[in-house]
Amino acid sequence: MIALEPLFASAIGAAVPLLFASLGELVAERAGVLNLGVEGMMLVGALAAFATVASGGGVALAVVAGMATGALAALAFAVLTLTLQASQVAAGLALTIVGAGLSAFLGRGYVGFRAPATFEDLPLPGLSGLPIVGPAFSMNLLGYLAIAMLAATAWMLSSTRWGLVLRTVGESPSVARSLGLNVTRVRYAATLFGGALAGLAGCYCAVAQFKMWQEGLTSGHGWIALALVVFAGWRPARLVLGALLFGGVTALGLTLQAAGVHISPFALSSLPYLATIAVLVLISSDQRALRRNAPAALGKPFFDGD
């Protein structure tokens, strides 16, 4: 039979970076900013974090470096789209290209060795021994941080004035404007937050998970993170479901292979994507007042003079 704990642990490992990146993007999108440059921001953040530990900086500094770099990349995007009102879709895609190229070029000297410092697993006594869900309680520091940030963000969005301001800006910026809110400033903040978290996701990949640097380290997970925001209906709580679903089904397919089940590996490779679609359809067809619409002003430039 298939051992469930290793499966779950594997799912968690893959889910954490997805969680960070999608959480950041979710906040940005709730403010009305569609940033398709997640992959690029993750990559530059990953390189910055790896370079920091490789130069002896320690993991805390690596986290800061990763987040700062991600935010910096997001800043470039923000200037283009929020101040200069360029197309968000195109700017985001351009950011992905620049991020990928820049990280590949600057990272050439960092290929070929293991990260000298990493995040150790911190099992919670008692809880980590639980059957099936045990691995959820023996993550590393960043894993717990991801859950904490998720909870904090969910609370922020739903129960604080900040959250209301953010949501208003994303739903109806003209109304927000008329209330005296500075739409552009809020969007800048949300975008930078998204960038910082994408950088953090990259840091996790480079320092905690793979402990190395290489071009394209994040292997397209930035795009999955974007999809997860949509999957979660723009609500933080469902991000966990999506991230675990994706990482878990991938792990399940591989585990089935290892167990000798004779299904075409190509079919198994398709499973995570099909599963995501299936669950999304299930969620979306629920006719109750479940949020499934994007923030009304998502992707649309806001002209402050209107």
Partner: protein, 355 residues
């Protein structure tokens, strides 16, 4: 005025480029020549430019029609795969039997295959309210696995030493090269009849968007959905039409790519045209002529990256940075030129006073 923005962008990119090249120790003039001039000097270069720009333009045209209706088809790449699969199916099973009809059948099958794949997304969106961005993107990965399954399995060429490829397409399943029409200027180049398809698609798209009732309804659907519904054109219609057109265009481009320079199906035949086309559509501001120009520009950037490596050993990553930078400057300058930025303090309304 329209030209000022790209010129400004080029100037800014040039400036930054100077900095980069100086840092790398490369002569800037030589570098720019290698990146932008050399790739398109000569017929061969121009034909390669067209070869890349054609599928980009075709797919972007289809996508733009959907985007105007707020139908965000991100899965053009997957629809391209399906178009390629269907075209391959026709090619493998019909070639040698149907003569001149094979190629036409392939192209039709390609468009149909792409539309079919897009219709999955359309159905899930229209009927079950699943967001089309996510569904179309996920389906792209699924389509990729489907291609791999076919070329590693039932469609594998028995002579291919167990490698993932189908048999080569016969002559009746290949697009004729332009040089075969007797136009000597194209001798030795790879450009083929697919340019005719694209040249026809541009005015067709323009007519559809600007002059047809269906195109008008799609536009209204995108810009004022409530008004569209009131006028009797429900959102579902826009979704289906937008997705199907985008899918058909992508599928057709896929078929043309296989019936063109590649000549068989294998497991890694497209360099991401489906995704690049999204950039092309956005750069072209969703307008057919803009798209055509943007497609040529992206194609030039593609070629420049390779040329830079060969002529100067410029790392591929640098040309990627260049491409991204140029795009960002283009986007930025576009706006600066089209609007005048006014810096003035926004009137503050005390939030408390409103209460």
């Amino acid at each position: 005025m329209q030209l000022l923005s790209p010129l400004l962008a080029m100037a800014l990119t040039l400036l930054c480029g100077l900095g980069i090249f100086a840092g790398l120790g490369l002569p800037p003039g030589r570098a720019f020549h290698a990146l932008f001039i050399e790739p398109v000097s000569g017929m061969n270069g121009l034909s390669e430019l067209l070869l890349i720009a054609s599928p980009l333009c075709l797919i972007a045209l289809g996508l733009a029609i959907g985007y105007r209706a707020n139908v965000w088809n991100i899965g053009a790449e997957g629809q391209m795969y399906l178009g390629g699969i269907c075209a391959t199916g026709v090619a493998i099973h019909w070639q040698g039997h149907a003569g001149a009809w094979t190629l036409w059948a392939m192209l039709v099958a390609g468009a149909a295959g792409g539309a079919l794949w897009a219709s999955v997304t359309a159905y899930l969106r229209a009927r079950l309210h699943a967001n089309e961005i996510l569904v179309s993107l996920m389906l792209t990965y699924v389509a990729d696995q489907l291609v791999k399954y076919l070329v590693y399995g039932p469609w594998q060429d028995p002579q291919a030493n167990k490698f993932p490829m189908t048999v080569e397409f016969g002559d009746d399943a290949l697009l004729p090269l332009l040089q075969s029409f007797g136009w000597e200027i194209f001798d030795g180049t790879r450009v083929n009849a697919s340019v005719f398809i694209v040249l026809a698609a541009i005015p067709a798209a323009w007519l559809f968007i600007g002059r047809s009732f269906a195109g008008f309804r799609l536009d209204v659907s995108g810009q004022a959905p409530a008004a569209a519904r009131y006028a009797g054109f429900p959102q579902t219609g826009a979704i289906w039409l937008g997705m199907l057109i985008g899918g058909a265009a992508a599928g057709l481009a896929g078929a043309a790519e296989l019936a063109g320079p590649i000549g068989r199906l294998n497991d890694r035949w497209t360099p991401g045209f489906g995704f690049t086309a999204i950039i092309v559509a956005a750069l072209g501001r969703l307008h057919p002529l803009g798209i055509a120009l943007a497609a040529l520009l992206m194609a030039l950037l593609y070629l420049g990256g390779e040329a830079g490596q060969i002529a100067l050993q410029l790392p591929k990553a640098i040309s990627q940075v260049f491409q991204g930078m140029l795009l960002m400057f283009l986007l930025g300058c576009d706006v600066l030129v089209r609007h005048r930025l006014q810096w003035r303090a926004a009137p503050e309304i005390a939030a408390g006073a409103a209460a």
